[in-house]
Amino acid sequence: MTVYLIRRLMQSVLVVWVMSLIVFLGVFAIGDPVEILIAPDADQIERERAIIALGLDKPLWEQYFIFVQNALRGDLGRSFVFNEPALRLILQRMPATLELAITATLFAVVIGIPLGLLAGLKPNAWYSRTIMAGSILGFSLPSFWVGLMLIMVFAVQLGWLPSTGRGETAMLGGIQWSFLTVNGLRHLVMPALNLSFFKVSLAIRLTRSGVRETILQDYVKFARAKGLSPTRVIGVHVLKNIMIPVVTVMGLELGSTIAFAVVTESVFAWPGMGKLIIDSIYVLDRPVIVAYLMIIVFMFIIINLVVDLTYSFLDPRVRLGESKA
């Protein structure tokens, strides 16, 4: 176990290093930073002074070395646009994204599991077919399109819900949250629903196949034979057994939910990390782009590590030695 963990950690460090190289070379070497950093009307002497001040006259490997050194100290550069450290800028936006992603995951569990249960218990009923057809749509429709339709129906036509921003926020633990105010909640519902669309389909599928497998087990037959009410058989004996894998997968999907939040945040102008990176790409705010990419790579490596460990913990049949990178 310890050997495995150490090997995995070393692999992760290697991946972070390779990614930092790719990101650095990609962002700083393909485009010309001088063109972007220095005002176009600067004369030759000013230009050269600025190049030296920014360290752009040094060879590329030395620049990369300085970048890594700073990055290890938690300094990923300053945003050109906000004139703030890029790292702080991103961390400031992180709670909004996390709030959205966690709410979406909750929606997926609350909506997906009952629907999946329904479809699993009566696989041939008309409503089960409708649910399954709906879940195919959930997998195949682009999420920005679903977001647009939600806005069109609920914000423009019906006028029930606001379509942009976080609304009023309240302070908790030094961070602003939307879910603490009624107005904030109203702003949260649609983006979270949009982001959860794919996860709901996933939860439906997982629950349905889980139910169909579990219902044939001997202990379910025995519970029935004992004369327990159907509600109790389903609620306790079936549901309890399928909840663990479903909830685990939903939790482990949190990483990809955060990634897909980029789309939802852009549609609903939700001020999270995803919106920040898209805005930064528009204005070529390179330090923010680099910092975001590095943070995301780092985050995913940790998530993948946790996922692998959790799987092996939950299912001893997964042998650690052969686990994926």
């Binding site: 991946v15 990101v23 990609g26 962002v27 393909i30 485009g31 195919i136 749509l137 195949s140 429709l141 682009p142 999420s143 920005f144 399109w145 647009l148 339709m149 806005i151 069109m152 914000a155 423009v156 379509s163 990483g255 990809s256 990634a259 897909f260 980029v262 789309v263 852009s266 549609v267 990176i277 898209i278 790409i281 528009y282 782009i289 990419l293 995301i296 995913f300 993948n304 994926k324 990178a325």
Partner: protein
């Protein structure tokens, strides 16, 4: 898909069951009766599902529109001389200044939405199908190589595949486009990079099974070159799952391209795909001018759903476990 005659028997083998059947039929029935080849059987099976046929028909119409867009569009949306700013943001069905009808309305530039959608479909399909095809070539080659040679080659390729699949596609594509910038070529490159791993994994899975069969051994005993064994013997037998994944990936890549273009990091504004058309109309949607982004959205939806209908049924038809 029709195999060359010399290898016909080999190709028939894994889709396996039909082959013995057809031989029996051919012997008992008079020679005039058509022999049931795997391909023909596949077509008959596919036609079983009216829904899948409907999907195929819809997709055929969409492909027709995309290919012949310049000839069937009422107007060339890129030709500024044909546009009149006075026609901007007209509702569907309204008349232009010079008496033309805009069946799907116009955008803020006075561009006919229907023409815009036709041209947008062209770019969406080109980027989507093109990148899926390139990814298919790259992924299949690497997957076959990994399965055939095994050992170190296999573990290096599959490590990269695993690593790639552990990051969400949208994120990888966004990273690549953040670095490279907008442009059709860049979008295609990004889509190829995020998709090849799916093909590689699929092909490797079935190739690992196939490469232990006798016909591969026989081919090796004949001292055929590796390249020939890989592409003429191994590949045809790994096709069924590849076709299914390929179909689904075309839909996925069209959807991903639309998403990237919607986010403003995809295709350039001069060559709008459906995703970019939707993004352009987004701001007007809030003021009730729904058609500028609604109709491109419907076109995108119909395209993706029709491909998925076909792909879903292909999976049933080509799945050997489901074959009678």
């Amino acid at each position: 898909m029709t195999p060359p005659p010399a290898e016909g028997t080999i190709v028939a083998k894994p889709a396996a069951t039909p082959a013995p059947d057809s031989e029996v039929q051919a012997e008992t029935a008079p020679a005039a009766v058509r022999v049931e080849t795997p391909l023909r059987r596949f077509i008959v099976d596919f036609c079983d599902s009216p829904l899948a046929l409907f999907g195929l028909a819809v997709f055929a119409v969409i492909a027709f529109i995309a290919i012949f867009a310049p000839w069937i569009s009422p107007q060339n949306p890129y030709d500024l001389a044909q546009l009149d700013i006075m026609d901007g943001r007209l509702e569907p069905g309204s008349q232009s200044m010079d008496g033309k009808t805009f069946y799907l309305g116009t955008d803020d530039q006075g561009r006919d939405m229907m023409s815009g959608i036709f041209y947008g479909l062209r770019i969406s399909l080109l980027v989507g199908a093109g990148s899926a095809l390139i990814a298919l070539l790259v992924g299949t080659t690497l997957g076959l190589t990994a399965a055939f040679f095994g050992g170190r080659v296999d573990s290096v390729i599959m490590r990269i595949v695993d690593l790639q699949l552990s990051f969400p596609t949208i994120l990888v594509a966004l990273m690549i486009l953040a670095i490279l910038g907008k442009g059709i070529a860049n979008v295609v490159l990004a889509l190829v990079i995020v998709q090849w791993a799916y093909y590689a994994r699929t092909v490797r899975g079935s190739a690992l099974v196939e490469r232990r069969r006798e016909y591969i051994e026989a081919a090796q005993c004949l001292a055929l070159p590796n390249r020939r064994i890989l592409f003429r013997h191994l590949l045809p037998n790994c096709l069924p799952p590849l076709i299914v994944v390929g179909t689904m990936q075309v839909a996925h890549s069209i959807s991903l391209e639309a998403t990237l273009s919607f986010l403003g990091v995809g295709v350039p504004i001069t060559e709008p795909s459906l995703g970019l058309l939707i993004a352009n109309g987004f701001e007007y949607m809030l003021s009730g001018k729904y058609w500028i982004s609604f109709y491109p959205g419907i076109a995108l939806l119909v395209t993706i759903v029709s491909i998925n209908l076909v792909g879903d049924h292909l999976r049933d038809v080509l799945n050997p476990r489901l074959q009678k």
